[in-house]
Symmetry: C2
Subunit: 331 residues, 2 copies
């Protein structure tokens, strides 16, 4: 994406209302403390406001359904890790998003999927990169976290691990969508530039037990080189969670998010400088990164949600125990 | 490694003398400013002081030769990136170390190599994971940085990139050493626990132009799962460099270094909290990590060198423009 094309785009923060409660206690304004909170994203990028109304409505309906799945788990006292995993599985299964079914094509016309998950209570984390036959990479990432000594498994090794785990397998054709195929064809035929990334999915959650969790899943970049690993499976870049600070999931130009260690930086800014989650997200998205790079969602220990991006839009939503439930794209 | 076995091991910092010059100017003690500096490591872990003298001397001789290669490049006004790459190529070629020739065996009896490199001047970075036929993974990582839009290439995709780059290729037998084979056999036959990682190699440098650079290369963990990616190719975990703060290369239990974003944390601690490189390394190695996890080498913008570890020893060396030139293991 040309940075000039998004000149003037604002870093939007906390647009879903009610952010900024006092960490570690009841909100200063006397409002109800937040018992649980969840935010989700379906990617940031050049999302034109001229998008067809039916298409826009389809995104919103899907995000609302995903958010409801997560909220329901949290409301019933479920774990933030379960909410994150189930929300992402739903979005992976929806061909609208660039994760699981609907993943973009790499340069060679195939699909390679990346995902990661992290438990803020233990700093346990798991990730997979370049998997090609796993229907829900987020669940395989959770398997790496819970059933290996490792954090990241890649390519053939991740596939072999999937063989042992009994996760649902599919062939590459499963991931096919005409829209993503056309996007690759246009780039290969010189009709289009590599499109700004959008469609990566992620979720961050705080549960009633006070535990934070996060996860991210993606098909990566259209026309990416075979074997390219972006930020989504890199703990500290696209995904990070630590009880006491925040849980973060990112979407955008992965290489920039790796270079600047975006997700971990937001946690560290809260820890070292005492920034609120809004301030930390604003610092990284608005100052460290450049316009057009992407965005993040983050939830703090007190349930405050920050959702910042420096692109034209970000598919996203937020809900919490106080009754908040909103899905937006540009606002 | 059992943490109790290294109870009482101290975090050793700056053991190669002369650290702690004032950042950004001439040292406060009136000594000569540091025009260039380099530190190298050959892994941290349970290195018994009872190691055979011939073996100890072989490590020291190899590290001295590697350090000399880097110092010579820097002394002649060469780039820190070149010093880092050439030092690591030398260590990759030496079967003593767990990188390139001499890499450990994975669970399936093969070798999968990881490496990364980062330019502190531009935050440009490149990495490869799970390469199996590349003699010098550090140079392929530099190719990713300089000749692709990506940061990390993995597995088959990294091998295909190597096909295009003309880097020297070898078959898996090239990496064989009896010692590493025996180490795997003992673990598989239940005669030994997975050994503490040692033998990863790395280098950090400040050149006469004021630019920092870092690189890390490894064969990973003996008996690792096929496809396991450790911290060495993860920018922010095992490797990070940023002009104005420091260049860092890590060695140890990779999963812990990923979980805590070790290399990036040291840079951020200097940037946000104004810590010296010694203080930042001590904070992360001595407080964030646990005994037995590993160590790092770091060089700051002013040429100060910190080398901290919480293991029994770390193969390492440091040199700079003031005439310092030392290689040590335990002290």
């Amino acid at each position: 994406m040309d940075g000039a094309r998004v000149a003037g785009a604002l870093v939007l923060l906390c647009v879903v209302g009610g952010c900024g409660g006092e960490p570690g206690g009841a909100p200063a304004d006397g409002s109800e403390p937040i018992a649980y909170a969840i935010a989700i994203h379906g990617g940031a990028g050049t999302i034109p406001k001229s998008i067809e109304p039916e298409r826009r409505d389809a995104y919103i309906a899907s995000l609302e359904q995903a958010l409801g799945i997560g909220q329901n788990i949290l409301d019933q006292g479920g774990k933030s890790l379960d909410a994150v995993e189930q929300v992402i599985r739903f979005l992976e299964d929806d061909p609208l998003f660039n994760a699981g079914k609907g993943a973009v094509f790499n340069h060679e016309g195939g699909h390679e999927l990346d995902a990661s998950i992290m438990d803020g209570a233990t700093l346990g984390c798991g990730a997979v990169a370049g998997v090609m036959t796993v229907k829900n990479p987020i669940s395989l990432a959770r398997g790496v976290m819970e059933r290996t000594q490792h954090v990241l498994l890649s390519g053939t090794g991740a596939e072999r691990f999937a063989d042992e785990q009994g996760v649902e397998r599919v062939d590459q054709e499963y991931f096919f969508t005409q829209r993503r195929y056309d996007a690759l064809r246009k780039i290969l035929e010189g009709e289009a530039q590599a499109e700004a990334v959008k469609g990566t999915v992620g979720a961050v959650a705080l549960d009633r037990h006070g535990n934070l969790a996060t996860g991210t899943s993606t098909g990566g970049l259209t026309n990416k080189m075979f074997g390219r690993v972006g930020d989504s499976p890199i703990i500290g870049a696209g995904t990070y969670a630590k009880n006491g600070t925040c849980a973060v999931s990112a979407t955008g130009k992965g290489e920039e998010f790796i270079r600047h260690g975006v997700a971990h930086s937001i946690s560290i800014l809260m820890e070292l400088d005492g920034l609120s989650v809004d301030e930390a997200v604003e610092r990284v998205i608005g100052q460290t990164l450049r316009e057009g790079d992407g965005g993040v969602i983050a939830v703090a220990q007190d349930g405050s949600i920050a959702m910042g991006f420096n692109t034209l839009g970000m598919y996203r939503g937020a809900a919490d125990s106080t009754g908040r439930f909103e899905v937006v794209i540009w606002e």
